[in-house]
Subunit: 483 residues, 2 copies
Amino acid sequence: MGWGDLGAFGEPSKETPNLDQMASEGMLFLDFYTANPLCSPSRAALLTGRLPVRNGFYTTNAHARNAYTPQDIVGGIPDSELLLPELLKKAGYVNKIIGKWHLGHRPQFHPLKHGFDEWFGSPNCHFGPFDNRALPNIPVYRDWEMIGRYYEDFKIDLSTGEANLTQIYLQEALDFISNQQASQQPFFLYWAIDATHAPVYASKQFLGTSQRGLYGDAVREIDYSVGKILKHLQKLGISENTFVFFTSDNGAALISAPKQGGSNGPFLCGKQTTFEGGMREPAIAWWPGHIPAGGVSHQLGSVMDLFSTSLSLAGLQPPSDRQIDGIDLLPAILQGKLIDRPIFYYRGNEMMAVRVGSYKAHYWTWSNSWEEYNKGINFCPGQNVSGVTTHTQEEHTNLPLLFHLGRDPGEKYPLSFASDEYQRVMARISILVQEHKVTMVPGVPQLNVCDKAVMNWSPPGCEKLGKCLKPPKSEPKKCVWPH
Amino acid sequence: MGWGDLGAFGEPSKETPNLDQMASEGMLFLDFYTANPLCSPSRAALLTGRLPVRNGFYTTNAHARNAYTPQDIVGGIPDSELLLPELLKKAGYVNKIIGKWHLGHRPQFHPLKHGFDEWFGSPNCHFGPFDNRALPNIPVYRDWEMIGRYYEDFKIDLSTGEANLTQIYLQEALDFISNQQASQQPFFLYWAIDATHAPVYASKQFLGTSQRGLYGDAVREIDYSVGKILKHLQKLGISENTFVFFTSDNGAALISAPKQGGSNGPFLCGKQTTFEGGMREPAIAWWPGHIPAGGVSHQLGSVMDLFSTSLSLAGLQPPSDRQIDGIDLLPAILQGKLIDRPIFYYRGNEMMAVRVGSYKAHYWTWSNSWEEYNKGINFCPGQNVSGVTTHTQEEHTNLPLLFHLGRDPGEKYPLSFASDEYQRVMARISILVQEHKVTMVPGVPQLNVCDKAVMNWSPPGCEKLGKCLKPPKSEPKKCVWPH
């Protein structure tokens, strides 16, 4: 989902009344970022409070490449990483993930081995349908075991776009919340649905209801579902004890537009890129009775902050034995403070850009390769900023391209290198970047090796369902990450 | 000002609290258009309820050219046109224009000859400063006579961007409203300020206050001023008897970005073009006690509708002896109805495009010429949609480029000519366009002839001020309209 996909963020069809109401009852974050322009690394960063380059969710197979966890990925979230639910357990929280895990699908990476008490959802994205020969269909788990596969037991009709997955995930959320309220247990619900990701789907009741096409139908269903969850909390009388945060894991995938791609509003490019369109996200905090209604924050925020903020809410300290990139946002949320902190934009192992205050410095620019672009793969359709949306990896480390995102949110007008403003701002940014680079201890890269043998052929529980498939011979090789 | 310049429309710095509050107390129009991508024709259309091609505010000097009323323009609003204030007079309204008239500056075009009772402002845009030899500085009028000139008596400091014009125009508005309330007279105030037009200015108290630079300072001052006007109406107890509408006369001039240009949000290109960025406008209706608070309308609207809607509010009928393009929006505003009507996008004498429902068909495409573009004049900076943002005038009348603005607000993905959707939609649009063209009776073009002798050398009142200048010899010639 992109920054511009909600009515509250200027989507012209304005079809998200529930999320817009959530914003009017809570706080809108206008400068909130994901930790990566791609799904798996973002989600790993959210749950660890650490940049993907630290928690291992990156590749070194080639320079500055986005990587994620397709079915043949060998790696996943290392045991050495401390995940938010693991820490929340210490404060008595019951933790549930509903939806896409995406932090590795092999047994050692299972979410219930990393702090979650319950899981309903899938380890990978809902790509398919597959023939169960070259590729198995993606399994859906309930806790430790699979209970079916996408396209087989959990239908997605690509011809009509119909799938009731979001409704299933919604009901699961409502039930979990009811149960926790009944048992008086504090809970952490990670409602990590994969809707709006291509192939886009929506339930029958939402199909054809949006002015925006199928993608809009999916957004409307998410909007409806968030509204249901918030009303459920209110009905149960626990809304004033429940902190809710809405955001996305990367910008809208413009490559899927117009049928299956969303809007990044006035920002440049989309998913896969480190331009604003790839990483600036819609974000809303909601906590009636605590967060002033109708608040707007320009705090630079990150999905990694949800780690630190959640710990703070639970009265816990973040781990002190490792670098945590997330910060506690409560002073910004509850007291309207502005905390000075940088935002780093990575692509794989490369720090492409950094934002400090209103300024963003690009140390590297790249949309995608000419080779891909000439095949019609375009992460910036209809956009072309000379020297910025480059199709070769351009290094600017000695003289970064500097933009003022207030005056120029679309990253179209680099500041003059000769200007006083450039000199003054870069003097400050250079120090921060140097500190960042000198103190950086990268984790072991998890997204380098692929092997068809590790795919979801025979997940736990497949025997009961008669859905075990025979894996091919193991042939580990370097994953190919084209962009 | 552009569609994306207000917080309520998704401007990322969200610096328009008063306009956003106006929207939350009133009704937001998301699909509201100006009648032309340029100032004079739009303002003529607003006051006549008629397309510029009917009221004469166009040129035939070259094909599909934007034209306006610079100082050397010979034409202006014809006497045969009936302006809104002329009609409102019949219902006892006192009419005042504050700010830029722009409908011709020669004596016969004076606003007080066309229905206004009072005027405080200028006939032309605040370009300058001039040397009073090649070009005179623009006069500022109070009613029939000039009281000074921009840059001389009404300072605009281009080096700092400081000018207190918006404050002066604000105070004038507040005083007028107070006087009318005191005398119990119904009034029509046309608060036609020229702020946010380049050269951009703001008052000292607003300079440097925006994250968006000088342009944002100007937007913030407008926002502040609108807030003051609305509060004034409330304080005087006449807010429930006063209909207020906020909009702009063309999209943000991206050519002036980033320092002096605004935002058209997710839309394509800007001022001067018939893409959405050139003509879709922010629009808010406010009338406490009548318009439901927080309403949102997808009614296709036009500045020309303000003519018909105002007449309706005053209990008057629109003239029946001529074609009126504006419609009465009250059913949309008060009862939430959606009125089916097309929006025509003209450039000069050419119908470039038409919108019907969510569909927009381009019959001609043009951003600007290669010649201009190669000089750095760019109406679509950072944007380039192949075959759409063309630099030659491309005719598509036999096979219009069709877009669905819900799925594709950025006009990036023309529908396939072979699709059923294209055939079905164009069948309907073609009939509407044919009707439109067959019944079109163009007015006498007013913007063809230019003459340096007609400039504001010696406006009425100049003698008292010692500010009369000697005009050069009359040499009428065809105006040059490059785009």
